[in-house]
Symmetry: C2
Subunit: 723 residues, 2 copies
């Protein structure tokens, strides 16, 4: 294979010119970026590479932000729960918060902007019945009802940018000044962000790509009184709130938000909460504003002849790449961090940009690059999970972050990345813009739909949580599977029904969450639409607590279609006779052991028609059921693994009633996959594991042969001749 070049971005740093040149050569890099805390030397900027420069819009300008507290960013916070032990309650509302990050907003009248709530009844306490002691950051509630609980929802100024705060504290930056985030909704700030960028563009002629990190509002990240993370929501709109925003919202939407619309009982409208209409309005309002303002900056960048790239993270709130205003921003590119297949697709599938870029793992940081550790392992794992997704829809570029000098000390790593970058370019050059073979069309159904494309069940970006991994496996499996995936919302189905071309709908999540749907399942239009669609031949896969909402004799509102329900104790009196698993089943044909992750308890079959595939510990964890001409499948949980990816694929084909098509472009070894590209008559046979694998490979006509692949191998083959 000839040495190829391009589509790769390197980080660099000061005093590292020769090594940078060497690595550019070996990895075929055509772009160089700075990082948080590193600056590029002039000689590096003169290399034959595009130069990315990190740009902060709303922080890192303390000379402007200082003494402009009235345009500082804000947050609504909720105090702890305080039990009234008498008719007076003193609420130390700042308890647990980090005074270096937030300080109460006493500029705007608390009686207007704050709320004291009786959390026992949910009622608002009359403002006349409480007062603020500004000196002690204390709210005194009078005429409280003893033994009720009270909270204060209060506005603060956010006086420290969360990412800066995190880095500052983590790296012991001592008395280095804190980046104060300002709100570009403020007139001075708005003017400043534009004039500063205009000047900056002039001052940085070597910059080819302005890497916005990012725009205006950081995802919600609140620290506690010990300076540690207290609340993190990668999707959180918390930091977009301000008095100015609230007033503008009222003007735009015709009604005023309550603090409770933001504070949400202390849950702060995380993406696990079924969104309220008011919060959806608020998100829309912020997105529109962010798009309008970001467009102004992007226009300035374009006028200067440079490209505008957005980092998918940090201050990305309101950009919503899958939302309806994103296109208007006019960005050239989006770059984001790749934790696996699902996060790769989250970046690669973003519409309305010219190119996307994935920042691969590991970061060149000392936590991985230390003596005795082999960073190749992590890189290999990251590449294999991402490659599956790249074979479905590649990002246009890959890149790395951190200290290049650190990576340079690991020659095996340097050699491995040389191989990866070559392999990436080969894949890209072969399949970019080519539609891969898809056996099925799958729709993920939840409260968010398209807006949260490849973004369901995530709390902090790509971090593991006990309560999510059993659902994230669904996305991770699908990210590299030979199916088309779309994301649809309950509201979509309620207003337009199920899209014509969908083969299988998946509803996955814990009861009451936005992903399962909660009270949505009482909506008769929704359940009718889905029932009718399944009955007429659709496939439906429920995972965890699908369609769950106790109502009129069912917990799963589609229990009759699913053939299973969950025993909450109310129906213990009903004998459960259907406990016998089928001897074999299409869905479990490749399964050696089941792993349902956190799994689900007390699932039982409703009829003898329920095909019980796995039954243990007195409960069902995997089953199928016919409903009219359609089919449903129930799975108790699906953490990511090769076995579970296969299980899900079989479940999808079974639900779709297309078992006959299952072996088209198929590898029978679960560690291997076939990605076919009919229009160019090529296929890639991949070994997703770090061991040698032998597999039978089936082509589109069902013809098979046996191949053996070395660890991690990708083998390109032309289609066999027709006839």
């Amino acid at each position: 294979m000839n040495k190829t070049r391009g589509r790769v971005t390197l980080p660099s740093e000061g005093n590292f010119l020769n090594e940078t040149k060497e690595l550019m050569e070996r990895w075929g890099a055509d772009a160089i970026r700075d990082s948080d805390g590193t600056k590029l030397d002039d000689d590096i900027k003169q290399l034959d590479a595009k130069i990315y420069t990190t740009y902060f819009v709303a922080r890192g300008h303390n000379d402007f932000a200082e003494n402009r507290i009235e345009e500082c960013q804000q947050l609504y916070l909720m105090s702890m729960f305080n039990t009234a032990v008498s008719e007076t309650v003193e609420i130390d509302f700042m308890k647990g918060y980090f005074t270096e990050q937030v300080q109460p907003d006493y500029i705007h009248d608390p009686k207007k902007y704050w709320e004291v709530i009786d959390r026992t009844t949910g009622e608002i306490v009359e403002p006349d019945n409480w007062e603020v002691d500004e000196e002690n950051n204390c709210v005194r509630v009078k005429k409280a009802i003893p033994w009720h609980e009270y909270t204060v929802s209060f506005l603060v100024f956010a006086i420290w940018d969360p990412t800066h705060m995190y880095n500052h504290i983590t790296n012991n930056w001592g008395d280095k000044p804190h980046d104060i985030p300002f709100d570009v909704r403020g007139p001075q700030s708005n003017e400043y962000m534009r004039s500063f960028l205009t000047q900056w563009l002039r001052d940085n002629p070597d910059t080819d790509v302005v890497r916005f990190t990012t725009f205006f509002y950081h995802f919600t990240l609140v620290f506690n009184n010990l300076g540690k993370e207290k609340f993190v929501d990668w999707f959180g709109y918390g930091a977009s709130v301000s008095v100015a925003a609230l007033d503008a919202f009222e003007k735009e939407k015709g009604y005023r938000l309550r603090p409770e619309d933001i504070v949400d009982q202390g849950y702060y409208n995380t993406s696990f909460r079924v969104p309220t209409p008011a919060f959806l309005d608020y998100m829309d309002f912020i997105q529109k504003f962010v798009a309008e303002e970001a467009k102004k900056l992007v226009d300035l960048v374009h006028e200067s002849g440079k490209e505008a790239m957005m980092f998918l993270g940090d201050n990305w709130i309101g950009t919503e790449p899958y939302g309806k205003y994103f296109e208007k921003i006019g960005l050239d590119a989006v770059v984001g961090s790749v934790g696996g297949g699902a996060t790769l697709r989250m970046i690669a599938d973003i519409p309305h940009v010219r190119y996307t870029e994935g920042r691969f793992l590991p970061y060149f940081f000392p936590d991985t690059f230390y003596d005795g550790n082999n960073p190749v392992l992590e890189a290999n794992e990251n590449w294999l999970t991402a490659r599956r997704a790249i074979l479905r829809n590649p990002v246009d570029r890959i890149g790395y972050g951190g200290y290049l000098s650190l990576a340079y000390k690991f020659p095996e790593f340097v050699a491995y990345i040389e191989k990866v970058t070559d392999e990436f370019r080969e894949i890209y050059d072969t399949i970019k813009g080519v539609k891969p073979y898809s056996g099925l069309k799958v729709a993920i159904l939840n409260s968010w739909g398209k807006l949260r494309t490849w973004q369901t069940h995530m709390v902090a970006h790509a971090l593991w949580y006990k309560q999510i991994y059993s659902y994230l496996g669904v996305l991770e499996s699908l990210s590299g599977a030979a199916v088309d995936v779309s994301f649809i919302s309950f509201d979509d189905v309620i207003s337009d029904g199920v899209p014509e071309d969908v083969d299988v709908i998946i509803n996955a999540g814990d009861e009451g969450t936005a992903f399962s749907g909660g009270e949505y399942w009482k909506n008769e239009k929704l359940v009718s639409a889905i029932r009718s669609w399944i009955y007429n031949g659709g496939g439906f896969i429920g995972i965890g607590e699908p369609t769950a909402c106790q109502h009129e004799g069912h917990y799963f509102q589609l229990a009759t279609a699913l053939g299973v329900d969950k025993e909450l104790g109310f129906s213990l009196s009903i004998d459960k006779y259907f406990v016998q698993p089928v001897k074999e089943h299409f869905i479990s044909a490749d399964t050696t052991t089941f792993d349902f992750g956190e799994s689900m308890k007390n699932i039982y079959a409703l009829t003898e028609h329920t095909e019980i595939i796995e039954y243990s510990n007195g409960e069902i964890h995997l089953s199928a059921h016919p409903f009219g001409a359609g089919r449903t499948v129930y799975i108790a949980g699906l953490p990511y693994s090769e076995e579970n990816s296969r299980l899900l694929m079989r479940a999808l084909y079974y639900a779709a009633n297309k078992e006959a098509d299952f072996k088209k472009w198929h590898a029978d070894n679960i560690y291997c996959e076939v990605h076919a590209y009919p229009s160019i008559r090529k296929m890639a046979i991949v070994n997703n594991s770090m061991e040698e694998q032998t597999t039978v490979v089936y082509d589109g006509e069902g013809k098979s042969k046996t191949v053996t692949l070395v660890p991690s191998e990708i083998r390109w083959e032309a289609f066999p001749n027709e006839g």
Copy 2:
């Protein structure tokens, strides 16, 4: 020990006189009973023993019941869920029911007494929009909304007594006529039951005790189309329903019940459902009626010079021994089956009777008494669990059931029971009427309170269910523990607060059940009363999902007091820092391994003050927390075992803030217990296991000594001299 006699009842049978005499002698029996299917010979009736004779009030009189269908017992049943695939739905409402047990009531107008419900919306379908096809047992719904689900709630006649049906089918009684249950609410039936009993009392001069088996209404037991159990609720009022009852209810309570008030979405108001006001009214109405009518029968028995005993089971519905009408019946005795300590206390604690009797296990049936099996083991286990409870409050008599001739073939069993009966009499003679030492007063708090004394979390009598054993352990542990136990309801607390003398309240159960409380926990009076009580020094133990009801930022409504809550997904964004278990804790001081049974997932600590005692798999299963002057304890589940009994006792003392008293009258070996009787200055040291045990025993002053007990031993000791 001298041979004692009395307090024991034997079953007997035909042609078994000499052996009966021998066993009477050896077991000290002073009463003989017949059983279902056995009749006593005259010579046996002449023995020196009281004769119990089984009496059926409302079944076993087919000569009367036949051709009186209008006074036959009735049930409300719900059809299966039927999905409308067009605007017409045909509902085969009898599908899944056993036509030998039930037949639709077409005598009373279905349009008046039946309901068709749209289960998608919960709305009643106008009677004009459906019609009954009596020939085909079919309801045809017109103008249905396609893809909604429909059910029919319909009245049936119950033409076969469930116990008779069960025995008939189980024992293959072939064409033996089916006992038809009649409803004594009918005028002819009412007259008949009295006149028949009057004559029967004359005809049975040898009978000393009329053993009512039982009165009027069987617990709900419905069979399916295959003649197998479909629905069983030992507390179910289903069979008490009739057109006559519904009409009388309206007259008495001033409003009419809907079928839905009985059918309850197909859950039929099992005791796991938080009872509705209408259903509580209905239960009250039935109890009052049953008490009035039963009293008439009991009066007849008394007039004939005999005793009236009630069997706690079968047709016992409405008697409610812990209800407010039970006293009025005027019974002499109650007899019931003893499955362990909790069921023993359920019998022994019944008020307003002169004596109680426990029927011990095993039954003398071929399923236990067969060649190669050793029935002593089961008897020993049954006795040891029951003995703990007997030492707290003895039943007045014990007895056995089944075929005496079978037991007679097992000489070791005969010898063992000889020992048990002697031991029982020794205990009884020593402590009957003597108040045992109690270290604490414990109240079980749920929707039912006193009415379901020792009866919580039960489905079918003393049967194991996966969803209940982790809660039943609480009752079983308490049944033989040195604490006073009461049962209080949420309504009690709402109207009267927590009783003065309670040390610890226990709330145990799955979310939404009557035992946990469901929506009750939104009642501000309830939560205020409990919070205030704990804060002022009370102890509260929550087990499973205590106080659970998602509302205003908490899942556990007493989360602030408990110091823990359950993560449902809404608060994943909040960092959970409190995960470090305490090094040691009073509550777990005797624990070697934890067993939380079904356990509970995703419980987390809210504050640093939460004393985490057990933390594994990323979640808390045992913790404690201070709240004001009071304390709370959280336990994820408590199946019965000696370890868990000890854990619970320690949790109780800890919650009550009385650790200093824990070792009063205490055995440190968990397989041993001390039961002290201060007023007679005696204590019993018991070995609850079938192995030898050595234990340190503490007296009331904390003085200790070491004793070794043989398997199952009970050792009586006088208190040490004072001073």
